[in-house]
């Protein structure tokens, strides 16, 4: 993607009201995550310090989102939770790209047996229900943030492999690649110098759009108790802990869940407009 094309896309994103809303929310979220210790009213409670005097208080001017079963400020914990969610999103997509991109480049450039093997392996992975695969991996590796990231990345990479393979195949036919080949330049150099730079941008765009789904799936694993362990503040975990308090202390699971929803929505709003600009025929994830 050329520089002026990037500017063109950005202009469309900002002109569309819904994607602009998405961008604003994502920026706000990044700022919140970065400056959490300064924004959160009770940073110590966000890190897990109990506050037994104020158990399950409803929202008030002192605790805007109320307090949880240990008296901790829900707002502070939601603010700190943004860190975990963004971390998961970036880590899952990056790891997925690190596995998926080299395999896709190799398959597309080499063709033949290599291509066949790589593509069959992606077929197998894509036939697996993603949440079930992640669940299995989490159960095997144990609970914890790293394992959730690994589990999601494993169910994620085949999408990138397929996408970049298609790009690599079309670029392979370009005259400059043919010339490089005829000059006897090694495959690795051609892949690194010509194919990767020309194929990577749609994959990165796709990856950015996928961050919303990554947060959503990670929150589901957290909700099942397989993700971050207490006392760390994590949205999915907070909803899960708040589940038993739902009917009498509505604020406890409601606000963390709202945070998940708004964050995922923001990524999807931007993604929806991007998809229309870049490739209307691109298949949605998790169909």
């Amino acid at each position: 993607m050329k520089k002026d094309e990037i500017i063109r896309v950005l202009k469309i994103l900002i002109r569309n009201k819904l994607s602009l809303l998405g961008i604003i929310i994502i920026l706000a979220l990044i700022i919140t995550a970065l400056f959490a210790p300064f924004i959160a009213p009770y940073p110590n409670q966000a890190k897990g310090e109990p506050n037994p005097e104020e158990k399950l208080q409803p929202p008030s001017s002192k605790h805007w989102f109320g307090t949880d079963y240990m008296g901790r400020d829900v707002l502070s914990r939601v603010i700190y939770g943004a860190r975990i969610s963004l971390l998961v999103a970036v880590a899952v997509v990056t790891l997925g790209l690190l596995i998926g991109v080299p395999l896709g480049l190799l398959a597309g450039f080499k063709g033949g047996v290599v291509d066949a093997v790589v593509m069959r392996v992606t077929d197998i992975f894509l036939s697996f229900p993603p949440l079930l695969l992640a669940l299995l991996i989490s159960v095997t590796l144990g609970r914890g943030l790293e394992n959730v990231i690994i589990a999601l990345a494993v169910s994620w990479w085949p999408w990138y492999t397929r996408l970049i393979r298609g790009m690599a195949i079309s670029i392979k036919e370009k005259p400059y690649v043919e010339v490089a080949k005829s000059m006897g330049i090694s495959s690795w150099k051609i892949i690194g110098r010509h194919i990767l730079p020309n194929a990577i941008s749609p994959v990165i765009v796709q990856g950015t759009m996928d961050m919303g789904s990554a947060i959503l799936e990670a929150s589901a694993l957290s909700f099942l108790g397989l993700g971050v362990q207490p006392p760390t503040a994590d949205w999915g975990l907070m909803v899960s802990q708040g589940k038993d308090y739902l009917l009498n202390y509505w604020w406890y699971p409601t606000f963390p869940g709202l945070a998940i929803f708004i964050t995922v929505l923001a990524f999807n709003l931007v993604g929806d407009v991007l998809r229309e600009i870049l490739d209307p025929r691109l298949r949605r994830r998790f169909l």
Binding site: S127, L216, F223, L246, L287
Partner: protein, 339 residues
Amino acid sequence: MKLWEYIIYRLVLAIVVIFFVITIVFFVSRVIPSDPAALWVGAHPTPEEIEKAKEELHLNEPLITQFYYYLRGLLHGDLGISIRTHHPVLEDITKAFTATLELIIVAEFFAVIIGIVLGVYSAVKKDSWIDNLGRLFAISGVSLPAFWFGMVLQLLFFRQLGWLPLSGRVDTIVMLEHPLHVITGLYILDSLITGNWVVFKNAIWHIILPALTLAMYPVGLITRQARSMMIEVLQENYIRTARAYGLPERIIYMKYALKNAIAPALIVVGLSLAYTLVGAFLVEIIFNWPGLGRYATYAILSMDYPAIIGVVIIAASAYVFINLIVDLIQMYLDPRIRV
């Protein structure tokens, strides 16, 4: 690739995937530290009892031999005995599966109706604020954490308004007073067939909230698909001709355009089926729905490994075959996909 070659390829692939799933799940479940023999015997076992249980469950044999026993049983439709419930796993799963199936069917029914109405309306009012609102709604649908949205609905419709029950499939007391003759395992259908109106009404009341929760994701997909198909169709020549003849807009939309936009929108239902199967796992936990998801959760919590393997195999097989059938139908309808 010819169509039949593709079908054979996909069938072989499906079998390979399912074999992979079985192998992975089998070995994974044995690696997790747990003591199935102790669980099997129950509380306060003697060492002899444990030894006997290990014998019965083939736990003293090497893993490969255990795997062989498992595969052999599987070929006879035997998924083993649940350690937790002491029932055959297949029996447990069949029962749970019908509950999940009923939930999925009702959810997709909601999704189709809401999605097509919204999508068509958005297309007709393209680029207006209604269209934007429809888009926001559709994207919200695919962004909602189902486990949380279910809770919000419970708060609203049970706690605040008191209109609908909190959870479960039917009230126990209703089932006791008006026993349901189970034929298909789908309570709504069974009560309809046998004319058991009390259970029928009760089952409908119970399914509304979980089905709505599960429907949100397909609603989003169907709305978007119906909208873009409708926009495409509205630009066709025959629609222009109809307009030129001065036919009322309502008839153009309902009689000519919708008919041609609806089939591709329905394919999305098939595509989202596999998703709802997995999504149902989370929704069932929230609504205490006695389906596969709840069964799997209990199985994981108590390390009931025959049940874990069984659920995963059934769910993965269903997922693989639903996707297979949908892909084949899509290929049949749209030859451009045949690569």
